[in-house]
């Protein structure tokens, strides 16, 4: 397996607080990898470091062999490494289809693309992806009128529209109605299998992550605590201690 995303010895501090300390991990191409850890263990900070939200203090992040730590968020996104937000972010005053249209990949954008109108195929693709996440009936609604869970699904569909090679998902099931979670897991797996998108997922819901990921990393206090296949992690004493606060 060759890694599509490699994080090497990344350290990030805020003032005196060490949010990530010497974290190394790798995400193989085509895999679904999980990232868990108690609240405040530095999971989202690591995501932010990877996609260039803030500069890292030391270490390296490579995506398909390209060093990311000097690039800015939009450049990284155009390389095909995309993230979704824990606090779902969509374009509230625009309708769902418009949200999808503006999420087209922007790699080849020049000044002429500014004038581009969206051809029928784009709208069709947008609608089929909305159907994929179950939002087709809501496609003409303003995004801000959707419920929180629906917005989450919209954000996921927007990410798919962007045709990323790798997608970082920050708690995709948080705030989603429990009865819908199985459906979402299914969608995530299908996105991975059918569209070939590598997934790197932060998740608090153990049942979800055990079901979804083939390999799991566990962070605690900003440091990598353990990693391994789901069943191994599940029975790892250090992980259990970290979650129960015995650390």
């Amino acid at each position: 397996m060759n890694a599509i995303l490699e994080v090497e010895n990344v350290t990030k501090t805020f003032g005196g607080v060490v949010a990530n300390n010497n974290v190394s991990l790798s995400v193989p191409k085509g895999a679904i990898i999980g990232l868990i850890g108690p609240n405040g263990s530095g999971k989202t900070t690591l995501f932010n470091s990877i996609v260039g939200y803030h500069p890292i203090d030391s270490g390296a992040v490579r995506f398909q062999g390209v060093e990311l730590s000097r690039l800015r968020t939009p450049q990284i996104a155009r390389l095909g490494l995309l993230r979704t937000f824990q606090q779902t972010r969509i374009f509230g005053k625009m309708n769902c289809v418009q949200n999808m249209q503006i999420s087209l990949p922007h790699v080849d954008d020049g000044f002429a693309t500014m004038l581009r109108r969206f051809p029928h195929e784009v709208t069709e693709r947008a609608e089929s992806l909305l159907e994929f996440v179950g939002l087709y009936a809501k496609r003409n609604l303003r995004a801000e009128d959707l419920s929180f869970g629906q917005q989450k699904l919209l954000e996921f569909a927007m990410a798919l529209m962007n045709e990323p090679a790798t997608l970082l998902l920050d708690e995709p099931t948080a705030g989603i109605n429990p009865t819908l979670i199985n459906g979402l897991i299914d969608r995530l797996k299908r996105a991975n299998a059918e569209f070939g998108i590598t997934l790197f997922v932060i998740e608090h819901n153990m049942r979800v992550i055990m079901n979804l990921a083939e390999h799991i990393y566990c962070l605690a206090h900003g440091e990598l605590l353990a990693d391994g296949p789901p069943d191994e992690i599940q029975s790892d004493q250090r992980v259990i201690d970290a979650y129960l606060g015995a650390h």
Binding site: Q75, L82, K93, F111, L146, S147, Q150
Partner: protein, 354 residues
């Protein structure tokens, strides 16, 4: 509205606008009508930034002033030296042939427009990095600083202002001439903006308005869009400024060119009154504002500026959606939008409810 009705409406408006100078009892008011087009230009160009992109600029007046001064200076320096011009402007006006006048005006507007684009691009690279109220207040400072600078620069007449050449008689009355020039300018601006909003540009700047961080995270070239938006806005404002200087003949640095407390505030107010972030809102807002101002404000005897402050407060606090925005909230279907009250409450079924 269906396609046929829309075309009929556009045609009707065009014919009405073209016929105004032919109506005898409106002829004394043609200058006021020319002002109306200027107001519409103000509101439309402000709305590109403030309404569609969410970058509330108090400094767009800078481009207006730059275009005005650039045009006037080109008109002056093309045919005169500064001293000569000062002499003829003081006594009998500089008499230009129609060809000279139009050449100067066109060339000046072209240079003014390009200068505005250049300034928007250069300043924008720094100022457009600011967000929210920092952007608003920074542009406010920019507008006033520009006026103060112009007041101290002798080459452009400093505090005593600059006089533009008079319209040669051969080109007809001032009223119809400037009416048509501003009409054409306003229509072109409207059509260009309409076209820009219809494509990716429109969606992109709307996305920047709604959540710029998200737009960044999707790989959108946000900085490029913001800069182009300001350049477009500045370009048309500069053209308008160039003609406006010729309409009012005398350019005062702070009362006409960089008139932040009047024009600079009006453009914001008119766009909000009509409905910011909509295509027709600024047009309607400017029309309503200008007509009420013309018909009603003369009876306020000097208190109209007090009333302006009051009007801003009332519109912003009680009517922030504006006329078109309010209509759209009220009858969303008419604007091709769908709103589903239930959608705010009910979770969607993942199994696709077709």
């Amino acid at each position: 509205m269906n396609g046929g009705g829309k075309i009929a409406l556009y045609l009707g408006l065009a014919v009405a606008a073209l016929l105004v100078p032919q109506v005898p009892f409106l002829q004394p008011y043609l200058i006021q009508f020319a002002f109306l087009w200027v107001m519409i230009l103000f509101a439309m160009t402000w709305d590109v930034m403030g309404g569609q992109m969410g970058y509330n600029s108090f400094g767009n007046i800078v481009f207006f002033g730059v275009g005005m001064y650039a045009t006037a200076v080109v008109q002056r320096d093309l045919y005169f030296t500064v001293e000569e011009y000062a002499n003829v402007a003081g006594g009998e006006q500089a008499a230009l042939t129609p060809a000279e006048y139009l050449t100067g005006l066109a060339l000046g507007m072209g240079i003014g427009g390009m200068l505005a684009v250049l300034i928007a691009a250069v300043l924008g690279s720094g100022i457009l990095g600011l967000r929210g109220h920092y952007f608003a207040i920074c542009t406010l400072g920019l507008g006033i600083a520009a006026g103060e600078l112009a007041s101290g620069w002798d080459y452009i007449g400093a505090g005593s202002g600059l006089v533009t050449p008079l319209l040669p008689d051969a080109l007809g009355e001032r009223g119809p001439f400037f009416y048509y020039v501003f009409l054409v300018l306003a229509v072109i601006t409207f059509l260009v903006l309409k076209r820009l909003y219809a494509g990716q540009f429109g969606l992109a700047i709307n996305a920047i308005r709604d959540d710029e961080d998200k737009a960044d995270a999707l790989g959108l070239h946000a900085t490029r869009y913001k800069t182009v938006a300001w350049c477009v806005s500045g370009f048309f404002l500069a053209l308008a400024g160039g003609v406006f200087g010729n309409l009012v003949i005398f350019i005062d640095p702070t009362d006409v060119a960089f008139a932040g407390p009047t024009f600079g505030v009006w453009m914001v107010l008119m766009a909000i009154l009509g409905g910011k972030g909509t295509l027709w809102g600024p047009v309607i807002g400017a029309t309503v504002f200008h007509l009420t101002q013309e018909f009603f404000w003369t009876y306020l005897f000097g208190w109209q500026r007090v009333a302006l402050g009051l009007l801003i407060v009332v519109v912003v606090v009680f009517f922030p959606l504006g006329i078109v925005g309010w209509l759209r909230e009220r009858w969303p279907q008419r604007f091709g939008e769908m709103v589903d009250e239930d959608a705010r409450r009910v979770q969607v079924s993942l199994e696709g409810e077709r």
